[in-house]
């Protein structure tokens, strides 16, 4: 019995050591270097700072009249508006898709698979945005994020709607509910767990998105937090301390989400992995 305990303890030790070396050192590296002076940070070492410099963070925030603050505002509003669109549109669509199976269903399934698998076509999207005269606007960015993340959310919602008994709908209909009331005041509240998953997962994904803002939101006014890092990197190659301070700052929101909602994030990411 004791032999088994010793073995488990040994496994614990190996696991923690391995995790520390492989996964924690890079984060430790980011944090120490975010608090060094420019020359010290350019040594790229993992030593603790000789002189602790904490105003790197305020320097980053005040850089170029607070472009990072502006970026935070942009990223957060992009994330919030996209999530609202995704949640409302996807839950409505999934409800009808699950309840009203018809000849259309295979077609809809095919489109969902396409949305899950295919890469978005970049340049033709410019053409669409130009034709609609909404290029370089936050609204267009929100709609693009909505379209890209939609298929996955519909998949999440549809599985969940299937677990809500139809008897609930029927009772509501007999009591005189129309479609809109049935959905918004009866069904939507019941979807709360999956809505939580969809919100948190999309919050992390959209806040961390770099590629789409790079393409569709060029220009200083529309900068998002991920782009600040990219622009700093190209314009500001020598100030690693400021770069890492920026990394720390922009990693805080997803981290907070994870601390409070790690169950939702994990259940969203593992959706479909386990067949019930």
């Amino acid at each position: 019995m004791t032999g088994k305990k010793v073995r488990i303890l040994l496994l614990d030790l190996v696991g923690v050591l391995l995790a520390a070396v492989v996964f924690l050192v890079p984060f430790y590296f980011i944090i120490v270097n975010a608090m060094k002076g420019p020359t010290e940070a350019s040594e790229m070492s993992i030593q603790l700072p000789r002189i602790l410099i904490l105003d790197n963070f305020s320097k980053v925030l005040n850089y170029q009249n607070g472009i990072v603050l502006k970026a935070f505002f942009n990223s957060i509003s992009m994330t919030i508006f996209s999530i609202v669109c995704i949640v409302v549109f996807c839950s409505m669509a999934s409800f009808v898709m699950q309840r009203n199976q018809s000849r259309m269903s295979p077609v809809i399934n095919f489109f969902m698979l396409v949305g899950l698998m295919l890469p978005p076509a970049i340049v033709p999207t410019f053409w669409v945005l130009n034709t609609l005269h909404i290029f370089k606007t936050m609204a267009s960015m929100v709609l693009i994020e909505t379209a890209i993340n939609m298929s996955f959310c519909v998949m999440l919602y549809r599985a969940f709607v299937g677990s809500i008994p139809r008897e609930i709908d029927e009772a509501a209909i007999i009591d005189g509910c129309g479609s809109l009331r049935l959905f918004f005041s009866i069904i939507f509240p019941l979807l709360k767990p999956v809505t939580a998953t969809a919100v948190v997962l999309n919050a992390v994904n959209i806040f961390n998105d770099f590629v789409n803002p790079l393409y569709f939101l060029p220009g200083k006014n529309n900068v998002t937090v991920q782009l600040t890092l990219y622009y700093f990197h190209s314009a500001y190659n020598s100030s690693w301390n400021l770069l890492f301070a920026d990394v720390v700052l922009i990693s805080i929101p997803p981290l907070i989400l994870y601390i409070f909602f790690n169950k939702q994030i994990v259940s969203g990411m593992t959706a479909g992995a386990v067949k019930a």
Partner: protein, 288 residues
């Protein structure tokens, strides 16, 4: 029921989602086929037939992206499948620190790709970087991870696995913990060693999880752009260019038709590789 199903579950509910999806996803995809056949400056186009595709396959700086993308997708997904399974099994064993370790392994998935890419660019720095610093302690002269043309792609692949293996691990953990306990007990009664348990019980039971990992990471690998772009910008030369980074380069260079052709090529690659893989994995899952 008094009212017909059609009326209550009205197709109007689909309209907002369908409109956004069709206008901002399907329409650009369809138009990419048309624009890939043109020389195009966003305002006017000339039809040039298959010339864009011809240059895509014949110009070395473009066609290298095709090979690299396949290498990237195959290597990242197979490493995530194997390492993720190992981590998953380890983190489902009886160790005490498993909750802590699960969060640690998952943590990189929460940090943005560009932040990870930048951090590793400095960790992999040939002269100052920590990786080579550690190697030199053992008397090994570390290579220039991102500056050596034959190594750059693989360094990026390593970072991709580092960042993405956490998701694979949680998917496996979900699969492993969903194995009914009766099975474990039955196996204990029948007797059998660890290896037999792994082959005959665990592995078949985590197949759905494994299929998810394969598909997710394979498609993710085919489409990837941000990590390569932050770490090497496709360089040195074109050594680590992927189709997605070629699309971006042609777009910034103003060759919009060529960029659209790149999109069509990527779409074709995914349709030809990922769709059959998906149906194959789904079928073999049902057959079991």
């Amino acid at each position: 029921m008094i009212k017909s199903v059609r009326k209550i579950y009205s197709y109007w509910f689909l309209v907002p989602a369908a409109a956004v999806f069709l206008i901002f996803f399907i329409l650009p995809t369809i138009m990419s086929f048309f624009f890939s056949l043109t020389r195009w400056d966003l305002s006017s186009w000339t039809f040039i037939g298959l010339q864009n595709f011809q240059s895509f396959f014949q110009t070395y700086s473009l066609s290298i992206g095709l090979v690299n993308t396949i290498i990237y997708a195959v290597l990242t997904s197979s490493m995530k499948v194997i390492i993720g399974l190992m981590f998953g099994l380890f983190l489902c064993s009886k160790i005490k620190t498993k909750n802590f370790l699960r969060s640690v392994v998952f943590f990189p998935s929460l940090v943005s790709t560009i932040a990870v890419g930048m951090t590793f660019s400095s960790l992999m720095n040939p002269t100052h970087g920590i990786i080579n610093g550690v190697l030199s302690l053992f008397g090994i002269a570390g290579p220039d991870w991102l500056g050596n043309p034959s190594l750059a792609l693989y360094s990026v692949i390593f970072v991709d696995v580092w960042k993405g293996v956490g998701i694979a691990t949680v998917i496996y953990i979900a699969g492993i913990t969903s194995i009914p306990n009766d099975y474990n007990e039955a196996f204990a009664i029948d007797g059998g060693n660890r290896w037999q348990k792994f082959i005959y019980l665990t592995l078949p039971m985590v197949r759905p999880a494994m299929n998810t990992v394969i598909i997710l990471s394979f498609i993710g690998g085919m489409r990837t752009f941000d990590l390569v772009w932050t770490m090497t910008q496709g360089g040195p030369g074109f050594a680590s260019d992927l189709v997605a980074s070629v699309i971006y380069k042609q777009y910034t260079a103003g060759y919009y038709g060529l960029s659209a052709a790149g999109n069509v090529v990527l779409l074709a690659m995914i349709s030809l590789l990922a769709f059959p893989l998906y149906t194959f994995l789904n079928k073999s899952e049902v057959a079991e």
